[in-house]
């Protein structure tokens, strides 16, 4: 494996956004590397921090190295290959009603007192879905949980505006490469694009602004991608909601269209579905753009950690 070449093809996360929490053993497992190969990656510029004699790396850097290693055996390659199998299926399967056991854990690391929690809740009613059995978190300290049963459905509502389609196509054709990017950095699409990269939040914020400049009402919205390996992974998701020429609000899920094109052959139908339609594997939330999913009113200045576990109800 020519890891130096892979490292040279990656733009590493800038230091101000980097969080080096993945120990070298995790890097070896994620990239299927032996220690000497990690040394070569470090020599090629992979940023690290050394604590108690152990090197730690940013998980996003490792993910991106794996994604673009073309080895077909790194963890990121295997994960995304598995996750995007759905995009090859007949899209009718993505348009039917699906019910999900929705569980979100909220953790506040810096709080010292009992305080109310606020979660940007599932926002599916507008799209024909429903939410039932909600257990909202009571005021507490440290951690809490939101539980609900959420039903999503799909609808084939492709964008009709030629201007919106042109702007979307221009972005898809701009050559940005999808990368894992820390969420705080994704709030600055210009910085992400300057790396030659894109991500769902950055792309959605940029595209929403482009739509607004073209005279349309548009907003980037955050949500949850459902059925991700039994809750073992928690991928952030974002898309653009835009009021189309026909007066209907359409959802442009540009990052998923781009990822499907890259990861799975024969996904043209799914890619088209991403350009205006809604599908049952996403639960939109009330959070806009790059806003947090949850808050704890304890006064701590640390952002709370939010982990979603969304499993299909069999």
């Amino acid at each position: 494996m020519a890891w130096e070449k892979v490292a040279n093809s990656i733009e590493f996360v800038p230091a101000e956004y980097s969080s080096k929490t993945q120990p070298e053993s995790g890097a070896q497992e994620m990239l299927r590397c032996v220690p000497a190969e990690i040394d070569r990656l470090v020599d090629a510029g992979l940023p690290f921090e050394c604590r108690a004699g152990v090197r730690y790396f940013d998980a996003n850097d490792l993910y991106n190295l794996g994604m673009y290693s073309n080895s077909a055996r790194t963890q990121p390659e295997l994960t995304f290959r598995l996750l995007f199998r759905f995009a090859q299926r007949p899209v009718d399967d993505l348009l039917r009603a699906r019910t999900w056991a929705f569980r979100v854990g909220l953790e506040c690391g810096g709080c010292s007192e009992t305080a109310p929690w606020r979660l940007e809740e599932p926002d599916v009613l507008r799209f024909g879905g429903s939410v039932s059995g909600v257990t909202a978190p009571a005021a507490s300290r440290g951690s809490a949980e939101y539980v609900a049963t959420v039903t999503t459905t799909g609808a084939r509502t492709p964008v009709v505006s030629p201007a919106l389609r042109r702007l979307t196509r221009e972005y898809l054709d701009a050559g940005y490469r999808w990368q894992m990017i820390p969420v705080p950095m994704q709030a600055h699409p210009e910085q992400v694009h300057a790396m030659g990269a894109t991500s769902c939040i950055a792309a959605s914020l940029f595209l929403a602004e482009s739509f607004r400049e073209a005279g349309y009402r548009a907003e980037a919205k955050r949500g949850w991608f459902c059925g991700v390996l039994g809750g073992a992974l928690d991928l952030p998701h974002a898309c653009v909601e835009v009021e189309d020429d026909d007066g209907a609000v359409k959802t442009v899920d540009i990052a998923k269209a781009q990822l499907a094109a890259r990861l799975s052959p024969n996904t043209a139908e799914f890619q088209e579905l991403c350009l205006g339609s809604i599908y049952n594997k996403v639960i939109p939330s009330t959070a806009s753009g790059n806003a947090a999913f949850g808050y704890h009113d304890c006064g701590s200045r640390l952002p709370i950690q939010v982990h979603a576990d969304i499993q299909a109800v069999r």
Partner: protein, 82 residues
């Protein structure tokens, strides 16, 4: 299906967790982090290889992986009974 697929499952887990020593059938593999999020995808591909069938990531429930007993019941006994 492989002759003794559960032995391959045990080998997979022990190879990644040599300190465990022995695997009890009811040991919680998730809470003990014997199967962590990094190994999870590898483990799914192993199960696909052993069962000879694709696994839909949407149909997965962490409880299916919680113990050797659960893994056997979900991926091997169900199939054998069909």
């Amino acid at each position: 299906m492989t002759a003794d697929p559960m032995q391959k499952v045990r080998d997979f887990i022990l190879e990644r967790n040599p300190k465990i020593g022995q695997l009890a059938p009811q040991m919680d593999l998730i809470d003990s982090r014997a199967i962590n999020s990094l190994a999870f995808v590898d483990f799914i591909f192993l199960l696909e290889e052993l069962t000879g069938e694709g696994i839909d990531p949407e149909d997965l429930d962490l409880d299916d992986f919680r113990s050797l007993n659960a893994i056997e019941a979900r991926f091997f006994k169900q199939k054998a009974a069909q």
